[in-house]
């Protein structure tokens, strides 16, 4: 675990860059992670996904996987790939300050 500085605030992140403590997340932190991970400036559609992810995780206790996001957030698979290129499942969780979604085994 290391400490990263996002939007001028110290937050704890794991080796892969996911927040260790989801409570340390703020909208500014999200913007900073997005900039850092190549997602770029967050648009309204990004926020639709992020809001869904955080609400769903609060309800379910785990970060939603890609299929769940595409089915329930109102943003389809194609758009998710455009919004979070190279792995929307992982990146949406990261920007939302959630742990990496478990790919069930």
């Amino acid at each position: 675990m290391t400490t990263a500085v996002f939007a001028g605030v110290d937050v704890e992140v794991n080796e892969e860059g996911f927040l260790v403590n989801s409570d340390e997340w703020t909208a500014d932190v999200a913007e900073a992670i997005a900039a850092d991970s190549g997602v770029g400036p967050l648009t309204e559609l990004h926020w639709k996904v992020i809001t869904f992810c955080r609400e769903d995780a609060a309800r379910e206790g785990t970060a939603p996987g890609l299929r769940r996001i595409s089915k329930l957030s109102g943003v389809g698979m194609k758009d998710l790939y455009a919004l979070f290129p190279k792995g929307p499942g992982k990146l949406a969780a990261m920007v939302s300050g959630l742990p990496k979604p478990q790919s069930c085994i």
Binding site: L80, P85, K86, I105
Partner: protein, 420 residues
């Protein structure tokens, strides 16, 4: 008389029914419901494509494993949890006091565009169904060489190591036929490596590499282009194939979705330790039907069955269920040339090298290819029909043990941890 109903008499439902058969308290009756006349030993599906098992030998009459159990040979078309009743195909409604959902999981190739197109079952195959494994056997026998692409469409899948085993066995199969040079094997996965757990993933990744099997990772399949024979991903990568072996998207049984009891893939939200259905009273879930982050494997169903039987007895007795399930899973991984390896893990501890089930003695070796492990895998077929399904006592406990395992590997820098 109070009634316990078990939906599904596959691996999990059959074990629970046979465990409880002699333990039901007075005042309780038990029935299992399953429309299928035969029971398929699904691990045999891995061997059918290579001709080392036949479709006929992989099945047995279901009645053989349900002696002295009341078996209703009909499908359930709906569950009504609020009314505490199930609706059968004939329209008959049966009420229950306790319900066990053991309806398993099945593949949904139609979820991927083009997968069941014109090339389905000629150049595009699956081996997770009996028809698929049988057709693939023919395709492999006739394969003249070229690129064989193995693709996992998305997780979760049943027996998550089966695709790796298929890759190892395919390598072995083409070598034995003296045509390995003419076949390019590509392993295409949505995961970021060979497997989901880091230590096992690096060992298994190394085994693929040794065999000259290329891995294309983080590939989320979007479409099969039948005209051009290309497998495409959502991030617009394309992989040409001559033969595509797919492990399609999995989902729970349709009755779960029809009853509004499932998640986005019709798996039932389940308490990870008690196995109670999260949203409904009087319902428990086990086996592939759950949404739990444990392998969808027969071994898991076995460990869960022991916990569930205890919990059903407790609830019948007016007590609350115990948090007995720890995510324990183990599986043999066939690696070709008469060898196999074994992995053992749970929710919290990833697979580690060591000995199993007894520390130092084994006789099985964890995470190492040996002939004995291969014998273990084949022996498991016998144990399945003769020990597991009839619920005879087995040596291995339902909780995972760390004894005999190289736990030091879990911490890359133990000296630092000790001083911290």
């Amino acid at each position: 008389m109070k009634r316990l109903l078990i939906l599904g008499a596959g691996t999990a439902g059959t074990m629970v029914a046979n465990h409880l058969r002699t333990k039901l308290p007075s005042g309780w009756s038990m029935s299992v419901i399953d429309p299928e006349p035969e029971h398929l030993y699904q691990p045999d599906l891995l061997f059918i494509p290579f001709g080392t098992q036949t479709p006929a030998r992989a099945k047995r009459p279901r009645a053989d494993s349900l002696r002295d159990v009341d078996w209703i040979r009909e499908p359930v078309v709906a569950v009504e949890p609020d009314a505490k009743c199930v609706v059968l195909g004939s329209g008959l409604r049966l009420s229950y006091d306790l319900l066990v959902l053991a309806t398993g999981s099945r593949t949904r190739p139609e979820e991927t565009e083009g997968l069941t197109g014109p090339l389905w079952r000629s150049e595009v195959h699956d081996f997770y169904t009996l028809e698929g494994a049988t057709a693939l056997h023919g395709a492999l026998e006739n394969f003249k060489g070229g690129r064989l692409v193995l693709n996992i469409v998305e997780m979760p899948i049943k027996c998550p190591v089966a695709p790796l085993e298929f890759a190892f066995l395919a390598d072995d199969y083409f070598k034995r036929r003296g045509m390995r040079e003419e076949v390019e094997l590509v392993y295409v996965t949505p995961l970021d490596g060979a497997f989901t757990k880091p230590i096992a993933s690096s060992v298994l990744g190394g085994m693929l590499e040794e065999r000259g099997i290329r891995v294309e990772s983080e590939f989320n399949a979007s479409e099969v282009d039948n005209d051009r024979r290309v497998l495409r991903s959502w991030d617009e990568r394309g992989i040409d194939f001559d033969l595509l072996v797919t492990i399609p998207t999995h989902g729970g049984a349709p009755v779960i979705g029809a009853s509004g009891m499932g998640d986005e893939l019709d798996f039932v939200p389940t308490d990870r330790h008690t196995l109670a259905a999260r949203d409904h009273d009087g319902i428990f879930v086990l086996g592939d039907a759950t949404n739990l982050p444990a392998s969808k494997a027969g071994s898991v169903a076995h460990f869960q069955a022991e916990v569930l039987v205890e919990n059903l007895q407790r609830v019948m007795d007016g007590r609350s269920p115990v948090e007995g399930f720890d995510g324990h899973s183990n599986c043999f991984i066939e690696s070709g040339a008469g060898k196999a390896m074994l992995i053992d893990f749970n929710y919290d501890v990833e697979p580690l090298p060591g000995k199993y089930p007894l520390p130092l003695v084994g006789p099985m070796s964890l995470m190492k290819e040996t002939r004995l492990n291969h014998m273990g895998k084949l022996g498991f077929r016998w144990a399945y029909w003769n020990m597991l399904l009839p619920a005879r006592p087995m040596l291995i406990g339902s909780r995972m043990s760390l004894m005999g395992k190289k736990t030091a590997l879990l911490n890359p820098n133990p000296s630092q941890a000790a001083s911290a």
